[in-house]
Structure formats: C-alpha cells, structure tokens
C-alpha cells in the first residue's frame, strides 16, 4: 500500500519536474531569441502554465482531489469558479507579501505580479488540486498533525520548499556582482522554481524515509 502510493507520487512528481524542464527547453527550440534571463517573463509564464496544466491533469487523473458531495454541473462550476477566485486572491496575496518584503511598489509591478503568479502556481494551485477550494483545510494541512495522506505531506514539503526557495532567491539581489540573474525578479523566480523542484524530489524520499513514523488519520 505504502510503496504503491510513494511510487505513484514519485512518478507524478517526475512528470511535473519534467514539465518544468520541457517548459525551459521547448521555447528555446521553438522561439528565437529565447533565454531564461533575457526573455524572463516568457520563461516564467511557460513554466507557470506547464506546471499548472500538468499539475491539474496529473491530480485529476490520479483522482486525488477530495470526493465531491454533489455531482451536479452547477456545483462543479461553482467549485471551479471558486478555485479561480482563490487563485487570483492568492496571486494578490503573494504580490502584497513580496512588496512588503521590499519589492518596488510601482516600477516593475508586472514583474512582481508575475512572481506572485508563479508562486501561486507552485503552491496554491497544488492546494486547490489536492484539497479543493477550502481555506479551512489549507490552514489545517500546514500544521504538524494536519496531514491526512501522503499527498498532504508532499504538499507541505513542496510548498515550504518553494516559498523558502523564493525567500533565499532574494539574497543575492543587493550584491554588487552585476550578473544578469540578479535583476529583479529573476533570482526569486529561479529560487522558487529550484525550491519547488527540490521539494518534488525531497517529498517522496522523505516520506519513504519516515514511512514508519507516518500515520494518517482516516478521512
């Protein structure tokens, strides 16, 4: 039972990780003048888009999302619209947090918002896929005893890694090295993406390592 779930998670994570690589490689092949630093916004939205699509598809196919009580169309649309709203709100939330952390308020607002979109894709979207549009459940998941399945644990790990990655990504900005990746928000997006990838790798490993200690309450 455990091994099956962990293996499933590992392969799902591998698909998501490969989608990020594809999002980096494919435009470089298809588009002219594409580079991660030079046309950073294009890269960012490629990654965000592919992660969003692949994430949704994988979780929909695996059937991880919580069982819906009603199966009517209107309920589904309601859920979908609520999910979109939450995603948008989360973008705004991340934008605010990033500005509070010291990002410029007016100039390069688009870049800041793109970072917020990426962060939301890496964190909120997974929450939406796994837990549905339910803020209570989100708050619950991020507590020590809150995880109710391996997917919840993996959500904890990847979200934490993404956010910490973005946080660490802010460190090199003030340094006077004059590198292209020190330009706002490249280091932060790279940090967030790297953190996310680390989380994708770390989650199955960590769960496998601690599978004896992990006991989940039944839903």
């Amino acid at each position: 039972m455990w091994d099956v779930e962990i293996r499933g998670m590992a392969s799902a994570h591998a698909i998501i990780a490969s989608s990020i690589f594809m999002a980096t490689v494919m435009p470089a092949v298809l588009l002219e003048n594409f580079s991660v630093y030079g046309t950073h916004m294009v890269w960012l939205y490629c990654v965000a888009g592919s992660v969003a699509v692949v994430n949704t598809a994988v979780f929909w196919l695996l059937g991880i999302s919580p069982p819906t009580k009603k199966n009517t169309l209107s309920y589904k649309i309601n859920r979908l619209s609520r999910s979109c709203l939450y995603f948008l709100l989360s973008c705004l939330f991340f934008h605010t947090v990033v500005v509070m952390y010291g990002a410029p308020l007016l100039e390069s607002a688009l870049e800041t918002f793109s970072l917020a979109v990426l962060l939301s894709t890496l964190t909120t979207l997974r929450c939406l896929c796994i837990l549905g549009p339910n803020v209570q459940a989100w708050i619950r998941v991020f507590s020590r005893d809150g995880a109710m399945s391996v997917w919840d644990t993996s959500l904890q790990i990847t979200t934490g890694c993404s956010v910490i990655g973005a946080w660490l990504g802010a460190f090199p900005i003030p340094l006077d090295w004059d590198r292209p990746w020190q330009v706002w928000p490249i280091s932060c997006t790279l940090g967030a993406t790297t953190g996310f990838l680390t989380g994708l790798v770390a989650a199955p490993v960590w769960i496998h390592w601690h599978r004896k200690q992990l006991t989940y309450k039944l839903k």
Partner: protein
Amino acid sequence: MKRLPVLVALIWVCSVFYVGIFLFVGGFLLVRLEVNRTSTCADVLSPGAQVKGDFCLSEPRFRRAVVLIIDALKADFTRYDPENTAPKPFENKLPVLDEMASSHPSQARLYTFRADPPTTTMQRIKGFTTGSLPTFIDVGNNFASNAILEDNLVHQLGQVGKRVVFMGDDTWVSLFPKKFHKSLPFPSFNVKDLHTVDNGILQNIYPTMEGDDWDVLIAHFLGVDHCGHRFGPDHPAMAEKLSQMDGVIRSVIKRLKNDTLLVVMGDHGMTDTGDHGGESQKETDAALFLYSSSPLFSAPGSQVEPEVVPQTDLVPTLALLLGVPIPYSSVGQVLLPLFPQNGSRGAPTGLSQAEALWINVKQVNRFLETYSNMAKDIPPDSLSQLRADFSNISSQYLAAVHKGHLPSHDLVVSMQNYLTGVRETCRASWARFNPFKMAAGLLILGVSCMLCYVISELSHLVIQEGLLKLPILSGLVVGLVVAAGQLFTQGYLELSWCLGAASLSSEVLFLWRTRGVSPRGRWSASGLLTPALLVLFLRCASLLSDSYVIYEGHVVTFLLFTLSVYIPLRLNWDGLLVPLPPPDTQKPPRLLPTTLPSSVVRREATILLVWLGVMVGSLYLSLSLHNCREEQGTCQPSPFLSPLSRVQDSQLRNLHYVLSVVSLAMWGYLLHRWLRHYGNLNCSSVTVFSACFLLPLACVCMGLHWAVSATPEDTFRTLSELIGLAQVFLPRATFCLLGLGLLLLWVDPMTVFLKSRTPLNSRGTSLPPPKYRASTGISPQAELHHLIPQLYQRIRHSLEDGVTESGEADSRPAVEAYGLGTVYSAPLILLCGLLGLVLLLLHPEGMALAFLLLLLEAAAVLHIHACSTTLSSLHKHSNGFSVPWAPVVSWSLAAAQFFHATGHLPTFPSIQWGAAFVGFPQGHTGTVLPASLVTLNTFSSHIIFAVGCPLLLFWPLVCEVRGTRSTRSAGAEESEDAVMEMRLRENPQKFSSGLLQLAARYLFVNGAQVFASVCAAAILRRHLMVWKVFAPKLMFEASGFIVGSMFVILGVAMVMRVDMSVGGLFKKLLPQNSRQSSLITSGPAKAAPAQVEVSHHIGSDAACGSFPDNPEVMTEN
C-alpha cells in the same frame, strides 16, 4: 527579588564586552606616526653636495601671499558656463575666476583641487599645511582640535620671519596656537550661522591688506560650508553666498601688488545634500585658483597641465615660491606650471622646474629615510625600490649639473614619478594594524558572546549561587598582576593588555565553573538552531559583505519581516492558532490535553494577526524614511529628513508640520491611553503628574519649537529677536520638563491607587465601587457614564461566580489597588515615552512620524510575543518567566531597523550634527554637551529599545487572559481578577532570573552583531571598502552596543527601583490589614498573603480587549 547579582552580572558582562571592543579598536585604528622634526634654511639635504643650506638659496619669487580659503568650495561651483541660461543656485556664481583665467592666462589659473579623505575641515587644514596624509582616526578630533605638532607651513613662515596674519575659522587658532603674527578668529562651531565668520573677515581683510603689517594673509571663510550644511547647495542662500565670495575675490584682486601671490582654494567639496567627510568625488574635489599681477605661468599650451592637483602639492609649491623650507613631513610635489621650464639660473624669477623638483625630491627622500627608521610599516620591497629610484635620479641630476647641461625632460618626468610613488606608498601603508591587539580583542569578544549565552541559559543558577564572585575577583587579581609585571619588566603600564588579561581570565574561569553545572542537553545543536537564532546568524553574516552593509536598512527589515511572519506560521504548525476541532469521542477523556477555550484562541489569534498587520505596515512605511548612502546609486533620501526650514514650498512645509505634530500628539495620546487603560493614572503621585501634565506640556513646547524653527528667517523681521529667544528657550524648556519627568519617575515610580473599602454588609445587593476612575474631581456625569459597564459587570459576576458566590464575597479584600497589575510596566513605558520625546527633539521634525512608527512597531512586537505566549502557554511548559529568543531577536532587529528609519546611516557624513544645536543655536563652549547630544540623536532607537527591553518580560503578563494561567495550577480557585504582574512578586527568584536572562539574551543578540562587524573589519582589513564601509560600520555598531548596553542596565535598574517601591507598599499595607489577612489566608488556595490582601483592578476586565471610554480626554495640543 535579588537585585545585586543581576546588576553585577550585567555590568560585568558589559565591561568585558567593552574591553574587547577597546582592544580591537586600539589595534585596528592606529594613528600615523608623526615625525617631530622641522626643516630649516640651513638644512643640507644631500650631504657633501653643497655647503650652504638647500632651501633658502635663491631669492623668493613672491614676497607676500594672500590665501583665501573658502570652506567647501566645490570644483563645480567655480566652473563658469556662459551658455547655461538657467543656472542652479550654485552654478555660474563665481564668474571672476573664469574671467581672470581666460583673460590673463599667464597670470591666473583654475584647477580642480583634490583633497584626501577624510574630508573634514580640521583634517584638511592639517593636510594642506603639513603636506602629509592625515589618517582615519583623526576624524574624531574634529571638535576638539589639537595643536599640530608636525612641521608645517605656518611654522616655517614664522621661522623665516614672515608675518602671518590669520582671520576666520577659529579651528586654525587651536591648530596653530601662538604661531600667528596677528589673528582674528571667529567661532566656527555653529553650523546654522552663515555670516559671523565671513562678515568678521570682510570687516578686517581690506584694512589689513592696505596696511603693511603682514607678509602672508590667511582668511578662512565658512559661509559656503555652513550654507551647504544648513540648506544644501541647491538653495537661494547658496547663490547669495557664492556671489558674495565673488565680490570678495574681485576686491582682493584689485588690492594686490605685484609681489603678491593670491591663492583661492576650497578645502573640500560637498555632496548634493551639502555634507562632507567621506571620499566620494563630490566631497574630495575642491577648486584651486592661483593669481598674481605679475606673470605667473608660462604661456598656455607650452607644457602639460595637470588635470587635478592633489591637495598636498600646495605645501611645497607655496614654500618654494615664498622662499621657505618645505615642511619636514610633506610628501607633496611642486606644481610645475608655476615654475619656468628652463629658467636661467640666478634670475630673479627664481627656481626652474628641475631645480624645484630636485629640492622637492631630496626633501621627500629625507623624510622617507627618517620615517622608515622610526616605523617599520612601509613595505621593505617598495622602500628599496624607492631608494634605488632616488639614487638613480640623484646621479643623473648631479651628472647633468656637472656637465652644465640642463636636466633632460626625462629626468623631470622620473622625478615626478618618484614623488608620486612615495605619496602612493605612504598612503597605502598608513592604515596599519596591530594584529596582536586585534586578535586579543576578537578573542575576548567571542568569549563574551559565549558568556552571554551561558548566562542566559543558566540565569537561575547565576543569581542563586555565587558563581560570579570568583571570576570577577580573579579577573581583578590577574589584571593587577599583569600591571605589576609590566611595571617591573618594562617600566611602564599598557592599560589595554592589563584589561585584556583581566577580562579574559575572568571569562574563562566563569565558563570553566559553569562547565560542570550546565546540563548536557542544553548545548545540543537543536537548541541553537531555532529560526530566531538562524535569523540572527543571517544578520551577523550580512555584516561581512559590503553590499549588505550598504543596504543594511533593507536587510534588517527583510529579516524582521521574516521573523514576524514566522511566528504565526509556527503557531499554526503546532496547531495552536486555530481552535481545535471538537474532541474525538473515541479517545478516553483523560488523555485529552487541557486546551484553551476556543473563544480565547480565536480572540488571541485575531489579536496576533491584527498586530502582525500593524507590524508589517509600520515596517513598510518606515522603509520610506531612510536616508541614502552615497554608494546607493539611484536612491533618494526621504523628504522627511530635511529640517522644515529647508523645505521651500510653503504648502509642503505646512503639510509636513501638521504631519509631525499629529504624530507627536499620537505619541503622547497612545502613551496616555495605555496608562489610563490599565488604571495607572488614578493615584495622585508625582509620576501621574508627570504623565498627565509634563508629557502634554512638553509635547506642546515641542510643537511650538518646530513651528518657530520652521519659519523662514526673513518672514518676520520685526519678531526676529523673539524668534531667536524662542529657539533657545522652547527646546530648553522641553528638555527641562522631560528631565523633570524622568527625575520624578525615578523618585517615585509607583502608579498605584489604593482605596480602602468598607466591609460589605449587604452583599449581593450593593454595586462594586467604580472600577475605572476613583480619583478626586470626577464628575457625577462620569460616574453615571460608568454605571452601565458596572451593572453589566455585576451581572456577569453573579453569573460567573454562581456557585462560589458566598465564599467569594467573604474573601473580598479590604484594600483595592488600582493599577497594580501593571505596576512594573507602567513606569517603564512612561520612561520610554519621556526618553523618546527627548530624542525626538534632537531629530528633524519629520522624524516624528518615524518615532510614531517605532512606538507602533514596538507595541506590535510586544503583542505578538504576548499572544504567542498565551497561545502556546499550554503547549510549552515554560519555567518561570523565560522570554524566548524570537521576540528578543525581533526587538534587537527593530532597534537596528529604526536606526535606519530615523535617517541614520553607519557613515560619518550622515551624522546629524544639527542635534548639537537644538536649544543651543549659538553653539557650545565645551565639547561634552554637544557630543552627548549628537550621541543621543544617533543611537536614539538603540536607546529606546534598550530601555524598553524588560517590557518583553512583562507584556505576556499584562495581556494575560484570565483563566489561562490559573487552570495550570491545580485546584484553581483564584479570584477572577487578573493577577498580571503580581505574578512576578509571587516568584521573586524566577522574576530576577527571568530579568537577567532577558537582559543577557538582548546583550547576546547585540554583542553577536558587534562581534560580526569586528570579524568583518578584521578579515577584510585590506578590502577596498574597509575605510568606507566596514570601519565606520564597526565604529557605529560598537558605539551603539556601548550606548545600548548602558541603557539596558538603566532599564533593569528602573525595574528594580519599582520593585523596591512595591516592596515598601506591601510592607505598609500588611500591618494595616492583619485582621483581614488572617481571615483570608485560611483559605486553601491562597498562596502568598501579600497578593491576596490586595486585589488590583485594571481599567477594564478584559485585559487587552476593548474598554469603555473615559470621558476625561487628555489635553491635546
């Protein structure tokens, strides 16, 4: 509580830190060795060559010289661009220089004159009279200028009998006491005074010039510099001042005779804000203008013109032109265009280029030989290279002279290269270090940090056992032994080594003794790897990079933000932020942990998040109040930083003024409201007097002072005397009021109102006495106003008490004390408030906003700490009153953050010298008072946060939720009144250990930062940025620590003072109510009689929640 051990431990730790800082700084910042020899006319520079002296051989070119020094005459000020149709106030205002240089190219020339850093006036005067390179350490002497002991131009002029007349900046008189034939000094310290010095010079310069009692006239104008300091260069006043200088130069030129040389020079430049002291090109580039009525220069284009003239080069040039010996330690190079290229020997025009250079080379070589014999700091390889160069030049020159040739052009170039080489070598090696002292200082500081950590972990043992006695005594003994040893072996005492040995031995002994005591578990890595300490580590690591030091304000804000966001995340992770779901019915009820009621959790979580919002908001707003370093390219300094008198637009000025006054009123109102809320304003003690009357009055005085100082000088000409008077007396009155308040606070810090109650006969029917205000003079309306809350409370009491009604009523105490719950924190808050106002007065008016944000942020840190303590009170079994690391680190980071948000920077030019003139617009006579005012201004945020540090201990108790703590003690049957800070009295041992732990932790956090910046200075001592970034940062960090630690001790002492008063109060109360006491103590649940005796009321029942408003409103300005 134990007072002495706590204070002794803190003072000991602080003094150990001070010794470490002292040792390191002593090794890091060394003064260049001064060569106390002087040149004379009879000196023979190269032995054997000539019999007569070298210097005074030929007839001097000029008999007289007029030196006009215009302080801060930046190179840009002197450029004249006729095509500039809309010149800024500082542009095109000195057309005379350009006019002369272009119309008489052989008589006048204008150069850029580059000063060496530090660009402060005294260092510059030293530089262009001795011709040497002053060092960094001299910066501190600017306001206590000492006589120059090295050989200098003024001395040389006096030696050959020239009559030197001086007028202007009085710094010169202290630098050259009794050297002038005649001197007319004018006070220079008052930066706001634009005219005294200049007008004094103007009254005297023309009569002196027309007279015949002078040979060299030095006039030092200060107006331009003061105008820059006061208004900045981009201000109409600057245009006025520069035009005045233009007129002065014109009139001086008119009066010049043929044998007189005119030198017009600036000693340094200024930044765009009018400051100076650093080493940016704007500060170093001044102007130099040379003029003579007789031809001075060879035709333009005939030779290479230097683009930039180093300031040291003026000394040998002037010396040779006036026919005096070049000062002994000069490393300057003669200014070649002033000497004829192939001057015929013996001609009245004086020395030729080659001859002048030859004398100069010999003089510099002699100095180099002398210096390298005295000190070994010039690297041997470059020294031998320079020696080889010199012997080469010497042989070539002598050969050429023997043959009767003129020295070749190549020889001239190689002589110039030699002189430049010497100058660069000296400059490179005159930042010398003493590695032993530095290492010792580093070691002591490192061990001190460890010591602080150990004390904070073992505070309960430190105060109980005599752990400290032996280390301190042994330290003293070791120090004395080392001193005696030094006296016997060397014959003299080196204080730093005695202190170092003493402190190191006492530290090591203490650590050795605690080694056995400390439980093993505490030292595990997990104890040190908490996120709070990780943030501290990041902060310390950031001090090792120049980029992070440059952006320190942002770095600190980033870290503080991270730490405060971490707290709710962590609480949520522990499942404490949201109320638990209803208990699982399957589990046996015994295993359920006792939890807080979910309403309490919800309320506390809301409070926590609200205060987090306040914190984030004030952090974000405070980012806009920063000043800018010169290294930060595109940064704009905050508009609130400039004093109101500098703001040109009157509407903007009014807006800023209103904003400042509103912030000031808010500061006073928030303090007052807090004190009233907790019932600390009910009694009629002197403290309440100072809170209710002195504080608002001081605020009013301050508002008026700002208004007066903001009025432009020329608007009310008729009232100018009154305004001048007000500028003196308003701030002084504020100082006095606040000082009186602080004094009264110390004399009687009690803010408790006692009310005796008649025993309740008809229990249940009578209302409890009014809970909010029981002071005299309360109106019946006010009583009525409180009737509703009282009724409500009464109802609630009866509902709550229900079963225990009968027992409860009996144990109603006989004395009610209002404000006892916050008896410790109220005086401390008042102290912070009063101190804050004093410090605010020393800042520019706009900083009132920063101070308000500071207050909000401090409150936010306290409340977040209190809420998280309440929420995790069941989770963690905290022993005593231990304050975790996270709030302590936040507190210290907030201090560092508001250092930046009040417009300060760790650089010397950014020191707000204006603080010295608040209340003293005429300047000072001594140096102690202005120095302490500037220190208070610079470290104001360190001071406020250091004094307020014990609040971290009190706040969770102040905000404690009724019932949370009592559920922990078994058989809780306490009265429903919150016990609050009386818990501290219940447990004096834990109180003192908690206080010691808190102070030690705060010192550790600050000490670690000092240690990190010391490490940065030591490791990166050859870094490009060491004098620009790391050394100033070290000085500021170390001084901040010294000031901060003193005020930590002051805050702790204040708490102890309050504790003494509380002790006295209880002693007084106990005998009065002995009967009641015996009755009450029979109850089983009562712990200490003193506490049961007195029930204390706060303004409202809900500790941190809302409370009905009191109709009596503070008098606002």
